[in-house]
């Protein structure tokens, strides 16, 4: 019943949905070896085989598998949003970037990239940490102080993990507020049941009118 569990960056859980989605992010790859009969993966050619030197954007799970150890079928390059140009933007002011648009799993995917032994892995790790540090203050400020405000403008630019953090902060704020108003003893409808009702009502509307 870990309500506040924020999925850890590097730790991989086989059944974790976020982890699966994050490992689907694309990584630019160049093939070092010929791959027979899989030319259909590259839509720009009609060749039967994938030739040496073919450039393809592969999902992370495939790229990592093909690059690992002695296989060395592809060479992996850093994705655009983690390259130097973007890294400079993040270092300049982490608060203005829309991390949700740059891939909703910015940190999780970034952490995964580090396992690929890219030449600039150290810089990436550094920038991930600095970006988080730079943004954390604002996240905490927003989630701990806004009680009855529309927060969509604030949360829409947050990365998926930052949203978990934000929600945890909001939860604790509301909990504290309830305690202040002596509402903690009040029994309430479970959140899941309430959500289920709402959905039902939306679904039932067209038939009612």
């Amino acid at each position: 019943m870990a309500a506040y569990s924020v999925p850890a960056g590097v730790c991989t859980n086989y059944f974790n949905i976020d982890d699966i989605l994050a490992s689907q992010e694309k990584v630019p790859c160049v093939f070092n070896a010929k791959v027979a009969a899989l030319g259909y993966l590259d839509q720009s050619t009609t060749d039967v085989d994938l030739n040496v030197g073919t450039k393809l954007e592969l999902p992370f799970w495939l790229a990592r598998f093909l690059q690992k150890g002695a296989r060395n079928i592809v060479t992996v390059d850093t994705p655009k949003t983690y390259k130097e140009g973007y890294r400079n933007i993040f270092t300049a002011d982490p608060n203005v970037v829309d991390l949700h648009r740059l891939g909703p799993f910015f940190y999780l995917f970034g952490g995964k990239l580090l396992t690929l032994q890219l030449p600039d892995a150290e810089e990436i790790a550094d920038v991930l940490l600095k970006t988080f540090q730079g943004r954390f203050r604002k996240i905490m400020d927003g989630s701990q102080n806004a009680l009855h405000a529309d927060l969509t403008s604030q949360t829409s630019v947050l990365d998926d993990q930052e949203r978990h953090l934000f929600a945890a902060g909001q939860d604790s704020l509301h909990g504290f507020h309830r305690w202040e108003k002596r509402e903690t003893e009040k029994l309430s409808t479970s959140v899941m049941v309430a959500n289920h009702r709402k959905r039902k009502r939306i679904g039932a509307m067209p038939t009612a009118s």
Binding site: A37, L38, L66, T189, S190, V191
Partner: protein, 194 residues
């Protein structure tokens, strides 16, 4: 791209994880299994002449990765659904709403029945006299009786001391907390605090 369909399943799951259960997507699961079978067959056919041919070997590895990915997505789909159903047992009680039940596949219904039974058996064995209901007293109880108001018509309700009361919309009652906590959590009654 390979394993794209399996990912659709995961996306579908992610969209519907709050308060409801999406329909069991049997069709898509069959398609994913077919894709896996296809990849497997291709690998098996080529495996015996792959020795010494690096390009065929590389292709086999690539397909293998895709099979494993598909497997992971499928298992995650099933596992997360089970987790969701388990959570629902605690939130909704032992009887799930009909639309949720309708969205479960046969094995999931079986699993749910078994889980229900095991949970009931377990709760019967703990505590001193006649077991302990673990789904009760989610918050520390402060009073023995609570004042409640009905949010919807629920019909007749028999209390422990044998009285029958009619739970009609907007009627108010003073009930034993232990008796009505479930009904509050299910959104039939509303707890009034002054």
């Amino acid at each position: 791209m390979l394993a794209e369909k399996a990912l659709d399943l995961i996306r579908e799951l992610q969209r519907t994880l709050s308060g409801t259960l999406s329909p069991y997507n049997e069709d898509k699961i069959r398609q994913v299994l077919e894709e896996m079978q296809n990849l497997y067959d291709q690998n098996r056919d080529r495996a015996h002449y792959a020795a010494g041919q690096a390009d065929v070997f590389a292709a086999i590895q690539l397909r293998h990765a895709a099979i494993q990915r598909n497997k992971r997505c499928l298992l995650a789909y099933l596992y997360n659904r089970l987790e969701q159903i388990r959570k629902m047992r605690w939130e909704f009680g032992s009887v799930l709403p009909s639309d949720v039940r309708y969205n479960m596949c046969e094995q999931e219904v079986q699993w749910f029945t078994q889980y229900n039974r095991q949970l009931a058996n377990y709760m019967k064995t703990i505590g001193e006299s006649g077991g302990l209901d673990l789904t009760q007293d989610m918050k520390p109880p402060k009073t023995l009786y609570v004042l409640v108001r009905c949010i919807m018509d629920h019909g007749e309700f028999e209390t422990q001391d044998g009285n029958i009361i009619l739970l009609k919309k907007n009627s108010q009652h003073y009930l034993l907390r232990s008796e009505c906590e479930h009904l509050i959590r299910q959104g039939i009654l509303e707890h009034l605090v002054h």
